[in-house]
């Protein structure tokens, strides 16, 4: 046992750190690691390296940079695009290459180009000085420091929203160091300019000072954020290290060392009280553990043989160099308990007992009794199971599991599932840790990642057989497991023609239950193979699944015909509504024209009520109520027409009465249409005249009104013209019409325009008593005195006769 703990380094009183080799690296790196841009994805993800040199030298240099992706499969190709500033991996294991001009190229795991996006004009102009790729709850983000010392970031590259951070006051040169933080679902930037720290968020830039920072700091050289963005370490040029929470409000510890740290990463165990920071410089590696309430730190020192690169992980740090790939982490509690020298923990005893048992020694019984006396057998078994999970070496896993299984025999009711599940998980983990596969996940990372994501990653690496076997082994339901893999797999083959791929997929899958062709197609579309996606959708039996994807691919016309084929009206409406938003009016109707069925459906939908009205009309006919039936038909006609008017002219027409519809048309200046409508609906002349009269007067379009009045003999007489003009207080116009008013209403009209004298003349001429008194009642004051007299005289005369 002693030899087993040989690679454990005690740090502090209780914690041990260990470093073990994952793989011996087989990459034929021509250059030194420090000459390369290197990036590694978390969760045991792939590595990428790119030679930095060509851009340092003159363009003339004949060496072409080679982008190399390692681990899953070695893959390299010459880099042709512009100078790359930074490399990184997104959460979906896509490679993001940030170029100097702010363009970001996205590649798949196999070097297949996925897409490209830009970080905005500002970045384009000022060039990229530095870039970071960081992971948030939403996905992966990119933060960029431009040549103008401004920051631009996007919190999620798959849903690109660029945010330009505010300026840092008084920033002359580039910040000495900076990092992206993600707190409360918002991404911030923390940067150091010499001895000053600034926190940038969307709206403001605020200067911050770490709590309890020792004085005398002249410059911050490095900062490191923990995997969960909860903790932060700051390195100064004096070799002083401050560790605290990312909010800078709480100091965890600080210590001095005499290093000029080039690289640092956090290394912590989930739920561990102790946080550690790993600092690598030159060829040494120092683990600084923070002790609560201890001002100084115990630094464990590991010596590295070569230049190394650190990758932060959830529960440790991956370290790789030219020849090795190692993992450094704090020894988990369970392992520690069992393997600590002279440990008397129940798990340790159980392991011992089992060993003795194998040796057929009676000591086994003694150990066992000892555990049982303490009543800790259950705990012992659990400890062994847990520790097995954290072991990297299969033989250790086995011996621990064997001990657990041995202990279980002496327990009455120990639920077997934790043991079984651990066995399964370990098998899976061991399989993927194999150097052919090369995903060095630890147990806690695996739990965090979940099996579904792991399967996706295997599929991404085109390790379909393994993925399928894992599914079968874990007995995952078809939909989650096998079918999904089958579905997603073949799409990524690139060099085969779409037709063949589609057919191949169909042959392979047949009608496997749970296979969703639309899912496969969505995947194909995601890979940029729209044509393949369409081909695949042909196999999709459910139109309801076809159509939304087709819409997404902007194949709206195809979607429309598919929807129509399906006979599902709801679906057609979905497409129609989509189309209506997408296309301009003309194109929309052109599309509809080619699809008479859709057109009729559209009409139906728009006039959802029309259908109901039709039913009503039918019922009216049955009831022999022809009037109502006709009225209902007219209503339908009107509704359709109003819809058309709304489409063509805009404005609101729906639900207006016929009269109001025509009025609205006239008010809008659509006289032709108004007349057409009046003809179509056989609006009686009288109504039309009233209507036009009112509308034109409302418009105060006197010219048109006069034209209209002369178009033919007014069926309503000319008194209304006078009235309406007076209503609009246009006496001048009113007088025009007053002269045309028929004799029986002339007096009224003249009175309306205020021409009392003439009214009196007319009334006298008519010899109409009622008219005379009417005029008389209008005679007011002195001005009309003469008129009044005249009338009185005329009256007297009439009576005489």
């Amino acid at each position: 046992m002693d030899c087993y703990t040989a690679n454990w380094n005690p740090l502090g009183d209780s914690a041990f750190y260990r470093k073990y080799e994952l793989y011996s690296m087989d990459w034929d790196l021509k250059e030194e690691l420090r000459d390369c841009l290197v990036a590694a994805a978390p969760y045991g993800g792939p590595l990428v390296s790119l030679l930095r040199k060509p851009w340092r030298k003159e363009k003339a240099a004949s060496v072409t940079a080679v982008l190399e992706i390692y681990s899953a499969s070695a893959c390299l190709w010459p880099w042709k695009s512009g100078p790359v500033v930074s490399l990184g991996w997104s959460a979906e294991e896509e490679l993001l290459c940030v170029q100097e001009d702010g363009g970001v190229l996205v590649y798949g795991l196999h070097g297949d180009f996925r897409r490209h996006f830009s970080m905005g004009n500002e970045v384009l102009q000022n060039r990229v000085l530095d870039a970071r790729i960081f992971h948030t709850e939403f996905g992966s983000g990119v933060a960029i420091l431009t040549g103008a010392h401004r920051f631009t970031l996007s919190a999620n590259v798959s849903d690109l929203k660029l945010r330009r951070m505010p300026e840092v006051p008084g920033l002359q040169g580039a910040p000495t160091c900076w990092t992206a933080l993600c707190q409360d679902r918002v991404a911030h930037i923390l940067l150091a300019v010499g001895p000053d720290l600034y926190l940038l968020d969307q709206s403001a830039c605020s200067a911050v000072t770490p709590f309890g920072l020792a004085p005398g700091v002249s410059s911050f050289l490095q900062m490191a954020v923990s995997f969960t963005y909860r903790h932060l370490a700051l390195f100064t040029d004096t070799g002083y290290i401050w560790m605290g929470t990312a909010s800078l409000k709480e100091k965890l510890c600080e210590f001095n060392c005499n290093i000029r740290a080039p690289r640092s990463r956090w290394c912590s165990r989930p739920r561990s009280k102790e946080r550690a920071v790993v600092v690598a410089w030159e060829r040494r590696l120092m683990v600084g553990v923070m002790r609560p309430r201890a001002s100084s730190i115990l630094g464990g020192l590991f010596v590295l043989d070569e230049d190394s690169y650190l990758v932060p992980e959830l529960d440790g740090v991956r370290i790789f160099s030219r020849s090795t790939h190692e993992f450094l982490h704090e020894v988990p509690v369970a392992s520690e308990e069992i393997f600590k020298i002279a440990s008397m923990a129940p798990g340790a005893l159980l392991l011992e007992a089992q060993k003795e048992y194998e040796k057929e020694s009676q000591k086994a019984d003694e150990y066992l009794r000892e555990i049982q006396e303490l009543g800790q057998l259950t705990q012992a078994v659990q400890q062994c199971i847990e520790a097995a999970g954290h072991e990297h070496r299969p033989d250790m896993q086995k011996s621990l599991l064997r001990a657990a299984s041995f202990g279980k025999c002496f327990l009455d009711r120990f639920p077997p599932d934790s043991f079984v599940r651990m066995c399964q998980d370990l098998r899976v983990l061991n399989a993927i840790r194999d150097y052919h596969i090369g995903i060095p996940l630890t147990y806690s990372q695996y739990k965090q990642l979940t099996i579904q994501v792991l399967l996706d990653r295997l599929v991404l690496r085109r390790l379909y057989p393994l993925a399928i076997q894992i599914c079968e082994y874990l007995r995952l339901p078809e939909v989650q497991g096998v079918s999904r893999i089958l579905a997603h797999g073949p799409v990524q083959q690139k060099d085969v023609s779409d037709e063949d791929v589609a057919r191949a997929i169909n042959q392979k899958l047949g009608d496997t239950p749970g296979v969703s062709y639309s899912d496969i197609a969505a995947r194909a579309y995601g890979c940029g193979r729209t044509e393949l996606a369409i081909k695949l959708l042909e196999y999709e039996p459910r139109s309801g699944e076809q159509v939304p994807l087709l819409l997404k691919m902007k194949r709206s016309k195809l979607a429309l015909s598919k929807a129509i084929e399906s006979g599902d009206t709801d679906l057609v409406f979905t497409v129609l509504l989509h189309l209506k938003n997408e296309l301009n009016r003309g194109d929309f109707f052109m599309t509809l024209r080619n699809q008479p069925m859709a057109l009729s459906l559209y009409r139906q939908r728009i006039e959802g009520r029309v259908a109901a009205l039709q039913t009503a009309a039918d019922a009216f006919y049955k009831a022999k109520n022809e009037f109502a039936a006709k009225a209902t038909e007219d209503q339908m006609r009107l509704l359709r027409l109003q819809r058309r008017l709304e489409d063509e002219l805009g404005g609101r027409f729906l639900d207006l009465s016929l009269h109001d519809t025509v009025t609205t048309l006239i008010l809008g200046g659509h006289n032709k249409r108004a007349e057409q409508l009046a003809r179509d609906f056989r609006i009686p002349d009288k109504r039309l005249w009233w209507l036009k009269l009112t509308a034109l007067a409302d418009l105060e379009d006197w010219e048109e009104l006069e034209k209209f009045s002369k178009s033919k003999k007014s069926p309503i007489g000319y008194l209304p013209f006078v009235e309406i003009c007076m209503k609009q207080h246009n006496k001048y116009e009113a007088k025009k019409y007053a002269s045309r008013v028929g004799p029986e209403q002339k007096v009224k009209a003249l009175l309306l325009v205020g021409d009392v004298a003439q009214a009196a003349d007319v009334a006298i001429e008519h010899r109409n008593e009622a008219e005379l008194s009417l005029v008389l009642s209008h005679c007011t004051g002195a001005t009309d005195g003469a008129t009044a007299d005249k009338i009185q005289r005329a009256r007297a005369q009439a009576q005489k006769k």
Binding site: F627, A628, A631, T632, D634, Q635, L638, D655, L656, S657, L658, H659, D660, F681, I683, P684, K686, R687, W690, L691, T694, I716
Partner: protein
Amino acid sequence: MAFPHRLDAPELPDFSMLKRLARDQLIYLLEQLPGKKDLFIEADLMSPLDRIANVSILKQHEVDKLYKVENKPAVSSSEQLCFLVRPRIKNMRYVASLVNADKLAGRTRKYKVIFSPQKFHACEMVLEEEGVYGDVSCDEWAFSLLPLDVDLLSMELPEFFRDYFLEGDQRWINTVAQALHLLSTLYGPFPNCYGIGRCAKMSYELWRTLEEEEDGETKGRRPEIGHIFLLDRDVDFVTALCSQVVYEGLVDDTFRIKCGSVDFGPEVTSSDRSLKVLLNAEDKVFNEIRNEHFSNVFGFLSQKARNLQAQYDRRRGMDIKQMKNFVSQELKGLKQEHRLLSVHIGACESIMKKKTKQDFQELIKTEHALLEGFNIRESTSYIEEHIDRQVSPIESLRLMCLLSITENGLIPKDYRSLKTQYLQSYGPEHLLTFSNLRRAGLLTEQAPGDTLTAMESKVSKLVTDKAAGKITDAFSSLAKRSNFRAISKKLNLIPRVDGEYDLKVPRDMAYVFSGAYVPLSCRVIEQVLERRSWQGLDEVLRLLNCSELAFTDMTKEDKASSESLRLILVVFLGGCTFSEISALRFLGREKGYRFIFLTTAVTNSARLMEAMSEVKA
């Protein structure tokens, strides 16, 4: 002072008792839910409730906050909720949703629903369906009679009209019977009962049954009210459809009197606030002009203003003591009168502005032509123009109905064209309105075979005048529907006047329609009271299609005092108009009666038409 009451006019019974009764019952119901509670009141019940118990009374009985029942979630935080509602399904759903929301939120509160005037089984069924019946306690507040004035009781059930006369829903009849029963227990039995109409008959019979069940109590009492007359609205739609020209009716038509009070807008108060005025006999100014034809009102008001000024002016010559007296006793009254006067003058001006336009005069002219039955063609084209010009959907509808009833239905050609015009002007959804109107008998089409009128005129030309009258009778008896023209002739509804009808000193009830028409309903009441039975009115009844539906019931024993015999309770089922009230008040003064009015709601032409309208909300 137009018509002072005759000195021998009987005293009116004191109806404030009804208010006290309702208030006490409400308080009793509220006290049944001890402790603080929030009260949810249905909008329709708010004004009536206000007349019974004001907020301070409610607060005294631990009502914490008042809410309106709306289609909105309630924000009440009280532990006890009390709902005061009409028995309607939608209210029940509201209560149920509230209770269920509380249940979901894990809240337990006490709920009480008080139905007014009574609860219906259907409502409880809804509560049961929604699964909240057990959580809610139900009660009845039998508040069915609200005294709006000294002689006017309203049940405040405007929906009665549509429910009964359109939907044929008879659920309110029980409420009417209960109300009558209450009146007879309070004011003694009614020795003489008359009625006309199906609903009147059913209400009466139900009421009788109620009395029999509980007899003994009222037997020994001396009757305070000598006569009761029940009348269905559908006996006389014409009166209700006419434009009102009596002041109170005009105010109702113009500003809408709601539950005895009216909101005068800024154009009346000539300030920027609107003013709520209670219109009843207590308003001295109003009481004097309410029954006047509008043409007299202005003169009266100016006279009144002069008097008032004179009274103010009196103080000029006063010494200190007199002045003290004046200030302490009269000034307040004068001030009040002054205020009221200015309000009514404002209202008059506003009405004048609206009504003295030519349009209104022509409208009245057309109405009168329709009532008298001449120039039908002209009237029809006037209506058509009215529709074409989109003057007002309700007005157009009213004129069409008036035309239909007075003409015994529209001739098919007019019916179609008017309907088409109407739909074109006001929207096709009114097709349903027309269907409603036909069902209610307000707007009908002469059956194509019904060319009787044409025949009649042809035949009458061939024979002598005397025979012609007989032929007319014969023909009208052949007609199925009410024949307004014949009734009008029979009852002399259109007074023949030579020269101008003197509206200042009216001679008959026709003054309420400018002397052009005596309200049919009032004339029928007059005739029956004169005869003390329906005898001799068989012809009229037949023309009204009410031969089977008229009844009289007189108790033999004559305990009633002569005074009580001159008190008449008129029950309008389906609403009455202020014009009818004015006309009967006039009749009372002429004949020495006092009329008391009980109506399901005060109505007017617009309300009738709106009740029939199907317009999307």
